[in-house]
Amino acid sequence: MIEVRLFATLRQDRERSIMLDSKDFPTVQDVLTHLDILPGEVSILLVNGFHKSLEAQLVDGDVVALFPPVGGG
């Protein structure tokens, strides 16, 4: 399984932590598509605590963390 942790506004209408079957989601982009999250809605993207790209390959046991952009001041 893959654990997807969502932060701040990405949690709106979603759970804070979502478990997905790794067989069905080979990349982070596949996870985003499943959760109906556009790439432009994600700023920091971590896999197991390391900064990765949307194309990063996922394997069983991975933890994906997604943070929305914060841009105001």
Binding site: I44, V70, G72
Partner: protein, 228 residues
Amino acid sequence: MERRYERNIPALSDQECRLLRSKRVAVIGCGGIGGYLIELLARIGVGYIRTVDGDVFEESNFNRQLLSEQPLMGRPKARAAEARVQRINPRIEVEPVAAYLDNSNAKDIVSGCDLVLDGLDNIPARRILAAACTEANIPYIHGAISGWVAQVGISMPGDGLIDVLYPQGVSFRDRSVLSFAPSLCASVQAALAVKMLIGRPVETGTIYYFDLLNQEFETVKLDLGKKD
């Protein structure tokens, strides 16, 4: 030791306080984050503050901007910041720049500063600031807020922090900002700024992320330049 700084001691040493008085910083943006940054840096005793903002106060600023006051409606924020600092300590040198940061003035705006602080409110201006600081070889301390959330990180020249935080195509839709977000953001930035100015160790390549709605505080270590 001036009496006004005696309560800085012993958290800061006499020598560190003197060092702060010799330092020059630019605060880019004098709105939500910037207003608090200027206040905190003036109070702790930074000797020179360049206050940069092309905007004037309007009614929608009042829910969060420290410098905004009813009598200042329509007045330049950069000059309100100067006046505020002079009321706190007239010995602090303040240079107001009542202009928006853009490609034509960014180099001059950061020039001669030991450190730059980001109080901006949009992504394009942050990209311009990052490029100018890289060219001038000046570190800057990023801060941004939205709704209940604040994020802070140190950017060293050329490290690409802003490109990681704001990849092409990214945009933020939530224009709300609650009053405690800028004060928290600025406090974290100011603490990092003081540490950098007096030469204490800091973590670079790190984003501190504060979600005040869910009371979650994350430290995210970014491998800058090493994204797979």
